[in-house]
């Protein structure tokens, strides 16, 4: 008897608990609808709206330009920061930031402001190739500016006219030797056809040495001036008259790197 009563009590209790839980799972009723917007607001009080604000392209290589384009409605004024300032309601502007830059646009409207931003990403270009090694003019071209000097028959003294030429040559040669740090200039002594070939070997050497001495005295480095005597073996002119002989009695300036 007693065991039956306890079972009933437990059964009743379980039923009560179960029924209480079921009651909480009932669906919630929807909230009341929001109040309808104030039907007809005053038109002047419209807030500004940003329709679009883009950067094209959005990633540039440093030094290139990106174009910002925008369109804003209902704004009384539009400004973009980063040094651009006030702009029309719609338009475009080229920008060339040197680093990543975010452009913030503020559109002020009577009914409220609108803000938009766009970022232009800047990438660094790869390092350029080293500058081309060869300077503008070749050594040979530059030596073309160096004039021959002329001598009297059987003489190796530097004449007055040759001194002036050598002075000019000295300046040109200094520039050449500094532009071509490995170049050596060869002074070639030459003679006309009249003296003996053997004697002219020595005379041509005297003529080349005379020019070298002059040039070193005005500051050219002796170790970069070489002399060679061609005697009368390399005439530039082959007639037998004074004008041709004079051309052949000369120092010529050549060079090698």
């Amino acid at each position: 008897m007693k065991r039956t009563q306890i079972a009933l009590v437990l059964l009743a209790a379980a039923f009560l608990i179960a029924s209480a839980g079921c009651k909480k799972k009932q669906p919630v009723a929807p909230p009341p609808p929001p109040p309808a917007p104030t039907a007809v607001a005053a038109p002047a009080a419209k807030a500004a709206t940003v329709n679009s604000f883009t950067a094209e392209p959005s990633t540039i290589v440093r030094g290139d330009t990106s174009t910002l384009r925008w369109s804003v409605s209902d704004a009384t004024s539009v400004t973009i920061d980063n040094g651009i300032g006030t702009v029309p309601a719609s338009g475009s502007r080229s920008v060339s930031p040197t680093d990543n830059a975010t452009y913030r646009m503020t559109a002020t409207g009577a009914g409220g402001d609108a803000v938009a931003a766009v970022t232009v990403y800047v990438t660094n270009p790869p390092p350029p190739p080293p500058p081309p090694a060869a300077p503008k003019a070749s050594l040979e071209q530059r030596l073309g500016e160096v004039q021959d000097i002329l001598f009297d028959y059987d003489k190796s003294e530097v004449r007055e006219d040759a001194r002036a030429v050598l002075q000019r040559n000295a300046d040109v040669l200094k520039a050449i030797l500094s532009d071509f740090p490995s170049a050596v200039v060869t002074i070639e002594g030459n003679c006309d056809e009249r003296g003996s070939a053997e004697y002219n070997l020595g005379l041509g050497d005297r003529r080349a040495t005379a020019a070298k001495e002059f040039l070193t005295q005005v500051g050219l480095p002796a170790d970069r001036l070489k002399t060679i005597s061609y005697g009368k073996e390399k005439p530039v002119c082959s007639d037998s008259n004074e004008s041709c002989w004079q051309k052949n009695r000369h120092d010529h300036f050549a060079g090698a790197q």
């Binding site: 003296g195 003996s196 053997e198 004697y199 070997l201 050497d205 005297r206 002399t227 073996e233 390399k234």
Partner: protein
């Protein structure tokens, strides 16, 4: 008077002083007339050899070579071929002692033998004292010449024969030339004249290309011209050692002019240590062949005379003056007198000093410009080039008796004549001249006669004649 003396060309210098009315200082030398004496030469007749069979194609070369050698020697007057009888002998058995007796009684007596009697050659118009004759043939694949020389003045044939000799060589043009030189040498030897056969002339030629100069060598008569160097540069101013085995020269092949040595025996270059100078050039050898003299700008200022061993060692300075000095040439007889060219007194002149550098004296008068001194093998005379009496550059050849300073002029304005070089016989000179426009090599007798042109291609310079 023996044959040697008769034909001697060693200048017997005769002075005709024209001093009247001239101030003593006005250079006696320029008013001196100097002549080479030449006594009457004997006449030789050299009828052409004829050739049999395979040798016939080379007989013209043979005949020309013999004739040229004998003519060049200056020993004889050459009998004109147009005077020769029609039927020269070819062998000794062709000769007859006298014209044939008449075949039958009453027939006319022959006045001559049409060339078969020596008297035909001794008589006018040939009027030759000597007759050389013979023939060439092929035998056993060889070129054979049978050469004779007879004295036309001797009636007895055996007594008239100076020599007869068989020569042979390869059966080709070179063989024919070789045999001809030998036959000509034997003729000249009978008169005490050394032969030039076998001697060579080294020289410089640009025939390979303008602006280049290479060293060449040829026989003394211009045959067999061969190139020795191929630097495609300027190689010049050759000198040959007395024994002919070493050739020294100046080359621009490595930039600045420097000396180079070449073995004529092996055909290879021999190392030579050049001084560290901008100019090393104009080499020559001492008579013992053990030392080289040359010009060098070793002091960095003036090209002066130096000497060294054959490899460039034992370098020594001989002159030390503020002038250009080149072309040292050591006396081949005494080994101590050095001729050289110097600008120490003004325009280039020829000087002489001792081989130790002492006692320099000027040999040329100071007039014009002088260059290219060359000792005669006798060590008494020098040949050289001089512009005395001409504008600078117009070189003529002279010979000077070095002890008396008397000079003989050999060329007289026929182009520019330079670089005389004595033949081993001391009687001939090789030289260069541009008398035919391009510069060419010539030979002549030391009295200026018997001039022969040896080269024709390109320009050719600086002959050096060696045994």
């Amino acid at each position: 008077m023996d044959a040697m003396k008769q034909i001697s060309l060693i200048p017997a210098l005769i002075l005709t002083a024209l001093l009247a009315g001239l101030a003593p200082g006005q250079s006696q030398q320029s008013d001196i007339t100097i002549k080479l004496t030449a006594e009457a030469k004997q006449t030789i007749a050299l009828p052409d050899f004829r050739g049999a069979a395979a040798a016939a194609q080379f007989v013209d070369v043979f005949n020309k070579t013999v004739f040229d050698d004998i003519e060049r020697s200056g020993v004889f007057t050459m009998a004109p071929k147009s005077f020769f009888p029609l039927n020269p002998p070819q062998q000794e058995s062709d000769l007859r002692a006298a014209p044939e007796p008449p075949a039958r009684r009453g027939a006319p007596v022959a006045r001559d033998c049409a060339g078969r009697c020596l008297s035909d050659w001794a008589a006018a118009p040939v009027s030759a004292s000597y007759l050389g004759f013979g023939y060439v043939a092929e035998q056993g694949g060889q070129f054979v010449a049978f050469g004779h020389l007879f004295n036309t003045a001797v009636a007895d044939l055996n007594g008239a024969r100076l020599f007869r000799k068989l020569y042979n060589a390869e059966l080709n043009e070179e063989g024919a030339r070789q045999v001809a030189h030998q036959y000509a040498s034997d003729i000249l030897a009978k008169f005490g004249m050394p032969s030039l056969a076998g001697s060579k002339i080294y020289f410089v030629s640009d025939r390979q290309g303008k602006g280049t100069k290479e060293l060449w060598v040829m026989d003394f008569d211009g045959a067999n011209q061969k190139r020795l160097t191929s630097f495609n540069s300027i190689s010049t101013m050759p000198a040959i050692s007395p024994d002919g085995t070493r050739l020294a020269f100046t080359t621009f092949a490595k930039g600045q002019p420097r000396l180079m040595m070449y073995s004529t025996v092996t055909g290879r270059f021999i190392p030579f240590l050049n001084p560290q100078a901008s100019v090393n050039g104009t080499p020559s050898f001492t008579p013992d062949g053990k030392t080289v003299l040359f010009a060098s700008s070793l002091d960095g200022r003036y090209t002066n005379i130096y000497t060294s061993d054959l490899d460039g060692g034992a370098l020594r300075r001989l002159t030390n003056v503020r002038a250009v000095e080149v072309e040292p040439k050591v006396n081949p007889k005494n080994g101590s007198d050095v001729l050289f060219v110097s600008g120490r007194g003004g325009p280039q002149q020829i000087y002489m000093m001792n081989i130790d550098g002492a006692d320099p004296v000027r040999l040329t008068t100071g007039e014009g410009e002088a260059s290219n001194p060359a000792w005669n093998p006798n060590g008494q005379h020098m040949a050289f080039a001089w512009t005395r009496g001409y504008a600078p550059g117009n070189w003529n050849l002279f010979i000077m008796d070095v002890s008396s300073r008397e000079t003989v002029q050999l060329t007289h304005g026929e182009g520019r004549n330079e670089n005389p070089s004595w033949a081993p016989d001391g009687r001939h000179l090789a030289f260069s001249s541009n008398r035919s426009r391009a510069s060419q090599i010539f030979t002549m007798l030391a009295d200026g006669t018997a001039v022969r042109q040896l080269t024709t291609q390109g320009n050719n310079y600086m002959p050096v004649w060696v045994k």
